[in-house]
Amino acid sequence: MRLNNKFTGWYLLVMLVVLLIGGAIVYYEIQWKIGSVEVARHQRLNDLIAQQIRTGGNYADHPTRKRATVTLIPEDSVPANLSSFYTRGTGWNPEYQANEYRLVVTSFYQINGRTYRVSTYSFIPSFGQLLPGVVDSFKWILLLLLVLVGISGRLISKYILAPFKHTLRVIESFELKQKQTLRLPPTRTDEFRQLNSFLQRMTDKALEDYQSLKEFTENASHELQTPTAIIRGKLELLMESDIRDDQAVLIAEMQNALEKLSRIHSSLTLLTKLENYEYQDQEPICFSQSAKEALDSFEELIEMKALILTTRMEKDVFLPMPSSLADLLLNNLVSNAIRHNQPGGMINVQLSRAGLVISNTGMPPETPTDELFERFKKGNPGSDSIGIGLAIVRQICDLHGFPIVYEFRDGRHILAVSFIQSVAASKLLQNVDRSLYTEA
């Protein structure tokens, strides 16, 4: 829901409540005012009649007596502490021959030692008669407010929120890689100014961090690779000198460790690079082609391990990712499927527009399959690998928003990558299961 709609909505709700209460107040105020004016008028009329009685004479046809009743009453029937009272209610109107809402004012007078009760009445609008008028006028007010608030809400919010929207646009187009600081327009609104300066500080910090991280990665890579290269070179030279067998074994072990060190290092550097990689719009590449090439390059290894490779690959699966990352993804997945296989086992590769599923036979993993995506986690702790291949795979998938899942079932390792962000990778497994067993 848009901000201004929210504001308008709440504003209208408050207005509705105010109008309801206001309507009631107005209604009762009018009612009371009409009543009090009428009562005052009748009291004056009653006073006038009393004056006439005091002077004596016949006033029976006088206009003041038209709606008046004058009664002589015993002195003790005068209510205590009361000189006048009024009542309201429906009464018979002889002029219209109908019941109407009537106000009766009764006053008591002591004239020449006698007590008179004078009551006069008139017809006033009843509650029911006033109500439709009040409701009607408030209906119109409400309608007018609705229209005005609706229109002005839209216009005003457009004006007030303009700097906010601008900020949003600027942030959306902000990219760390471009190394450009955020440029936000000045605004007079305090909150927006606060927001802008916060964003400015945050992005500046992020830029700085990004830069230093990048520098660190590059420096680390440079500074560590060179000594490794030196050691490796020395070992190679040593290897060619006249050495005994037991020395050769020592050298070989050093070389193994060195190899591992250099591989861990370059993998970590790569992971860091991937983590700082910003996904940019990318020309789609033919993933089918990449997959075919990856499988071809491992053909000999597959043969050597006497593995049976079955594939079902759709042609022309295009994905918007850099081809270097596609190769890395495929190489890691396929080499895993080969390495963790058993001699004479099988590898099944299925590629479609929905995703990629690679399954292979192999020993059950000793760690839960989910954890194998983490760095330095290995299914088999004794193995030669450094346990970073799947971390790289997941990083690449995360970058492109591909869900990925790894399962072990019925003696098969199944790794599924969904190419559609909204479709869970496990969905692919359901489709695969059937075909897997019909083919096998």
Binding site: E218, S221, H222, E223, Q225, T226, T228, A229, I230, I231, R232, G233, K234, E236, L237, M239, E240, D245, A248, V249, I251, A252, Q255, N256, E259, S262, R263, S266, S267, T269, L270, E300, L301, M304, S324, L328, N331, N332, S335, I338, R339, D384, S385, I386, G387, I388, G389, I392
Partner: protein
């Protein structure tokens, strides 16, 4: 005899390279800064320049222009610890012949230098010989005497690697890196190296060739004169 200029700021690494290549009969000169390199390039002619990108007094890529203007025929191999793709592309665009990422195996470096050399010098240089074994690097044909060997691409690469680095111990790591490149967390499964070497030896034997490849205990393999 090849003359090689090694532009590398790490003394030890430069000396490694020098030691290794000296045994091949190459003449190597060392320099550790871009300035020194400019001077040498202006005064002497080299067949090949090994160029480190990260030099204390400037980016090595800038030196490429110098090299190209002094001697367009000179081969340039960039050796860099920066495995940054843009550096690689920039270097190759600027006229470098190859790009090797540290840490590399010296045998690999040698194989690369030979490969560049073969590409540039066409007069019969595409044939690599060792006794009765000859490899044609253009057609990728391996022969023992007159008999054509039925080798796969990997086996051919392996044999070429042996021939170029003859009389040297080649570690299994070095062979694996040469054959499969530097895939991250790659298949450093030395069984594969063993398999390839075994197949290769079998093929050479059955073609009537001498088995020059021998196992060096604990370390790897060696192609040597019997």
């Amino acid at each position: 005899m090849m003359k090689i200029l090694i532009i590398e700021d790490h003394l030890e690494l430069a000396r490694n390279i020098q030691d290794f290549l000296a045994r091949e009969g190459y003449v190597c000169e060392l320099c550790h800064t871009a300035d020194a390199a400019r001077e040498k390039l202006a005064l002497f002619r080299y067949d090949c320049v090994l160029l480190d990108i990260g030099l204390p007094d400037g980016n090595g890529i800038l030196l490429l222009d110098n090299i190209r203007s002094e001697d367009p025929q000179c081969n340039v191999l960039i050796i860099s610890a920066k495995n940054a793709l843009d550096d690689k592309i920039k270097g190759l665009e600027k006229g470098a012949d190859d790009y090797l990422t540290k840490p590399f195996h010296l045998a690999e470096l040698h194989a690369r230098i030979r490969a560049i050399y073969r590409r540039k010098n066409l007069e019969g240089a595409n044939i690599v010989r060792f006794h009765e074994i000859s490899l044609n690097t253009d057609t990728l044909e391996a022969r023992v005497g007159d008999r054509l060997l039925d080798t796969t691409r990997k086996e051919f690469d392996l044999l070429l690697y042996f021939l170029v680095n003859k009389n040297r111990v080649l570690s299994r790591q070095s062979i694996a890196a040469h054959l499969w490149g530097d895939y991250t967390d790659n298949l450093a499964n030395f069984d594969f190296v063993y398999q390839h070497v075994k197949n290769l030896r079998r093929k050479i034997n059955s073609a009537g060739g001498t088995d020059y490849i021998s196992t060096v205990y604990g370390l790897g393999y060696k192609l040597k004169e019997t």
